[in-house]
């Protein structure tokens, strides 16, 4: 019993909160008070815990407490080969599984010096953008639900469900896809799936318009969010915020534009930005991004070439499953890669890709064996969450919910 108390005492957190103030526990009504929000709270998007110091309803200080979903990815990554880690990337940002798959394999490919064939790269772009739409649908829906519009989450999930069906067709799993491979993708995308995507895009626009009509002509929604949780440009940069949250503060930084990977330099798209930096701007920006993704997807469907989906590099890329069962050499290569890994050269690389939440980076240190010596995941939600204590100061307690919703953290990758 003593041990439990020792480990779970929050002394340090409370001490931090009690610094330089006149809080007394005896008379809570007369003085400032400390309340605890989460980790089991419907609006904290998972298991985020905030300890708030309040003066009446005004927030004076916020101390976020993380680690309730710390699963030890980085430690596990050191214990498994590069290929084995692909399914784990699904569960990082579990709203946008395909984006994580793509970012991870691109990071390993950069380290190992492999390049996927063009068709595979176009497929990766298609699935990443579809995944981005799915993630933003969750972000928009749950955000609206947090501030009271429950209809929205039903509508956005209806659209998301259609994307899941496409994933089901492409990868064989609706949620945890693990679709990409080092040097390509697991299987080719068939015409039926492309047709499904086309159909989805054609019918998605009216649905999006309905959502806009519901929310943007809604005075309650607008007034609830306007001017709430303002994050200035300087703070955003200094706090390391990336993704939609950074662009809503007026910085035009998108990894797809700044350091183009895949074929993002061959498609035409805008990087939407807002200058207000408040919760409403962050909401609008996600809607705009979804429209840009639709635009990119149309171009991808037009430009996707025919050809192979796995690179021809037998020492580093897994062969097709059908060939393993019929050809001796492929069987040996498959055996070697699975058992000994892909053995990238000694060195360290950092690769980052634009995810729905921000910039997802992988810093991999290789010592020449099939297992990474170290893998650091630079997760966007973790950095975005850091802004909470800054922007919640001086807000009302009910606005804290709106601010968390607008920052849209996913604890799976924030806690790793």
């Amino acid at each position: 019993m003593d041990k439990i108390k020792k480990v779970y005492s929050d002394e340090k957190i409370y001490k931090k909160l009690l610094e330089d103030n006149n809080l007394t526990i005896e008379d809570a009504l007369e003085n400032e008070m400390v309340i605890n929000m989460g980790p089991q709270h419907p609006a904290t998007h998972g298991v985020l815990r905030l300890v708030l110091r309040l003066d009446g309803e005004t927030v004076i200080k916020v101390v976020p407490e993380l680690g309730y979903l710390h699963r030890g990815y980085e430690k596990m990554a050191e214990d498994m080969s590069f290929i084995e880690f692909i399914p784990h990337t699904d569960r990082l940002d579990y709203t946008a599984t395909m984006c994580n798959n793509v970012a991870y394999v691109l990071a390993v490919e950069k380290l190992a010096g492999v390049e996927a064939p063009p068709r595979a790269q176009w497929i990766r772009m298609i699935i990443a953008e579809l995944s981005r739409i799915a993630a933003h649908m969750i972000a928009i829906g749950t955000f609206a639900m947090d501030v009271g519009a429950v209809t929205m989450v039903m509508w956005t999930f209806r659209e998301r469900e259609r994307i899941q069906e496409i994933f089901d067709r492409i990868a064989g799993a609706r949620f945890t896809t693990s679709y990409t491979r080092i040097g390509g993708v697991a299987s080719d995308i068939d015409d039926e799936a492309l047709k499904m995507i086309k159909h989805f895009l054609d019918t998605f626009e009216p649905g999006l318009k309905d959502m806009d009509d519901l929310m943007l002509h809604n005075r309650i929604f607008i007034e609830r969010l306007e001017g709430i949780g303002v994050l200035t440009k300087e703070d955003a940069i200094s706090l390391g915020v990336t993704g939609p949250n950074l662009r809503a503060s007026g910085v035009e930084y998108d990894v797809r534009r700044a350091k183009p990977y895949l074929f993002y330099n061959q498609v035409d798209f805008k990087v939407p930005t807002y200058s207000e930096g408040d919760s409403l701007a962050r909401y609008f920006l996600r809607g705009d991004e979804v429209r840009e993704s639709v635009k990119i997807l149309y171009q991808c469907l037009e430009k996707i070439p025919n050809g192979e989906v796995l690179a021809n590099d037998p020492k580093k890329v897994l062969p097709h499953k059908t060939e393993i069962y019929t050809k001796m050499e492929e069987l040996i290569h498959d055996f070697m890669i699975i058992n000994h890994g892909i053995n990238p050269p000694v060195g360290d690389t950092f690769f980052s890709a634009e995810n729905p939440k921000g910039e997802l980076g992988f810093y991999i240190v290789s010592n020449g064996t099939g297992y990474p010596w170290k893998m650091k995941i630079r997760s966007p939600s973790f950095c975005n969450l850091q802004a909470i204590s800054k922007i919640c100061e001086g807000a009302m307690i009910s606005d804290v919910i709106a601010i968390i919703g607008s920052l849209d953290p996913v604890m799976g990758e924030a806690d790793k």
Partner: protein, 172 residues
């Protein structure tokens, strides 16, 4: 409909208290969505228009444990979170049931690591385990139906000792 038809014919039915209580209980199971990680998204998907958990009388997801009788533990439970999960379970009124949704909660799943509890049955009594990582919404609905089946077999007097026992514990 069966029941209504009977009522218009005869105006009364004969049954046992046990049966009618169990029937009422199983038809309105209020879940406590303990959404921790990935499975939470599929749990929300089970409530969306396509899968529609409302068909089973369980659309009332209550985020306060005081109003719930079914806890759906959806997601990886870490050692830090285990204390919280247990505390929330303790706050739920009896009778209560637990679904371990997904591989992580059932056995630790793919997370063989230092901070993940290898199966929540180490600190919670689990009624139904659901396979999958994460389980599809259909699978969660299946788990819910299994729970309903289990509830329909209970008798009212199965739970009558619980409250005196609790009082005893408090007095101690």
């Amino acid at each position: 409909m069966g029941l209504e038809a009977k009522l218009t014919q005869d105006g009364f039915i004969t049954t046992t208290i046990d049966a009618i209580v169990a029937w009422a209980r199983k038809s309105s199971v209020w879940p406590m969505p303990m959404g921790i990680s990935c499975c939470a998204i599929e749990m929300i998907a089970a409530a969306d228009p396509k899968y529609d958990i409302a068909r089973f009388g369980s659309e009332v997801m209550r985020f306060t444990p005081r109003q719930c009788d079914l806890m759906i533990v959806a997601g990886t439970v870490t050692y830090k979170m285990a204390q919280v999960v247990r505390r929330i379970y303790d706050q739920m009124p009896d009778p209560k049931w637990v679904i371990a949704m997904g591989a992580c909660t059932s056995s630790g799943g793919m997370y063989r690591s230092y901070n993940v509890v290898q199966g929540i049955d180490q600190f919670l009594p689990v009624d139904v385990y659901t396979a999958g990582c994460p389980p599809r919404p259909e699978n969660l609905l299946n788990a819910l139906m299994t729970i309903q089946e289990k509830i329909s077999k209970t008798r009212a007097r199965d739970f009558q000792d619980i409250i005196p026992q609790k009082l005893e514990l408090i007095n101690k």
